[in-house]
Symmetry: C2
Subunit: 290 residues, 2 copies
Amino acid sequence: MKPLFERVVIAGVGLIGGSLALAGKKAGIFKTVIGVGRGKANLDKALTLGVVDEATTDLGMAVRGADLFFAAVPVESVIDVCLKAADGMKTGCIITDGGSVKKKIVEELQLRLPSSVRFVGGHPVAGSEKSGAGSADESLFKNRYTILTPTPSTDPQAVDLVRDMWKAAGADVVTMGPDEHDEIMAMISHLPHFAAYALVDAVVKADGSGLMRRFVAGGFKDTTRIASSDPQMWRDIFSMNKERLIESINTFERSLSELKQMVEKNNFDGLKARLDKIRSTRLKMDDHCG
Amino acid sequence: MKPLFERVVIAGVGLIGGSLALAGKKAGIFKTVIGVGRGKANLDKALTLGVVDEATTDLGMAVRGADLFFAAVPVESVIDVCLKAADGMKTGCIITDGGSVKKKIVEELQLRLPSSVRFVGGHPVAGSEKSGAGSADESLFKNRYTILTPTPSTDPQAVDLVRDMWKAAGADVVTMGPDEHDEIMAMISHLPHFAAYALVDAVVKADGSGLMRRFVAGGFKDTTRIASSDPQMWRDIFSMNKERLIESINTFERSLSELKQMVEKNNFDGLKARLDKIRSTRLKMDDHCG
């Protein structure tokens, strides 16, 4: 494939950034990939493993002459990194990101980036507990969704290029508004994490003697596995998607309270009918990829 | 090993009943195992597979001369089956069960069983989505807890025999009061199921267009896997453990609301500290078996 981008700068050569570097090189859409980061050790590893062609801790140097800048940094740092990077960029350079919250990032960057660069918000819905350049995997995005969140003021040609890039990396690309993205992610990703943390918190509250936790088995472990996710990362996501998260917690509290009332009122036949419907919805979800 | 019981009757030759039959025969603690059930096809299968030595749909016939009766039937049927079985039993016969709710069962049976038989409440904390005689597995209970719930009026020799039986089947046997059992299970098993059902219910509520469910990924799926559990079984468990379940839902709602308030008040540092504590509790749970 003819390179879509000659000079690609990836800030944050971890699971997401490193995997896109590998997938883009493999597909022939990136000519030269420059990794940028603050940790020298990780950058050296990325070079040694061939994840990137060049590596530097100097963001200003890296972006000189770049055609594409991908911010694969923690969600709270995306805005800052993109603003800093834009300083040294040539006219027409495309900026995109992998942040899992979009409205705040897209609004701020559309407002504050110079008009000489073109920003396209993105979110590859892939990830695992792994991190660092050593976890980079060229097939990470295969058959997973990548959501792009252009707005009426986003350059359409830039959207096409970023879409082609993710497609070449194997992703199933979907486009929607930043707020719609955040509403969906609040419900199907941020809320489950929040609920899993709350479930473990409730056990801590109830389990004065420490006896309860001896008996946790498969069901509890599955349900709360994501409560061992990185607290800093989730603090940031919860903070950046505050409004939509609260909305989804409210919806969940309503469901919980409705089901509880059925128990309180001994309406167990009504409860059974509701559980039947829930179960059939849940079973259908197993047919989806992801 | 010398048989602990000569003539063992197991009502419900499914995953739990069938597995105990196999484990007891393997360990040499059961001489003859008679399977009782309502479904002829499942009983035939149990015979063909060698899970039981004899099989019948006639409960009265089966219990004649029995030394042990194990009720491995759905939790709502345990009381009825034990009462019916007791009718034809010889003096001194031991009755035990595998119901996952204990207070209601133990209270009713202590009140209503004839004093000529000896009841010991039990709950093997093992299970999976499988059912039927074909799912019987002699090592199902290995390194899993079985909880016995004797009361001051339970015959101590009967408790010892039932304990020895579960130990021979490989289980780690723990003894506690029926209400303490129900309190623990409400929090670490019944509440997670309830919360998983509510989480899927919330998505149904929020997802008018059906778009959200396209994007569910690993985290959501893990957290709600148990929402595809059998609605009839869980309706029964929620009903039989109503008081303790409501208590655990209330505790969960308190945790949820406290964490939500931190988000609402922008207390993200407080939230991060709380998540750190939750995460470390959750990580320790992975060290437990089960």
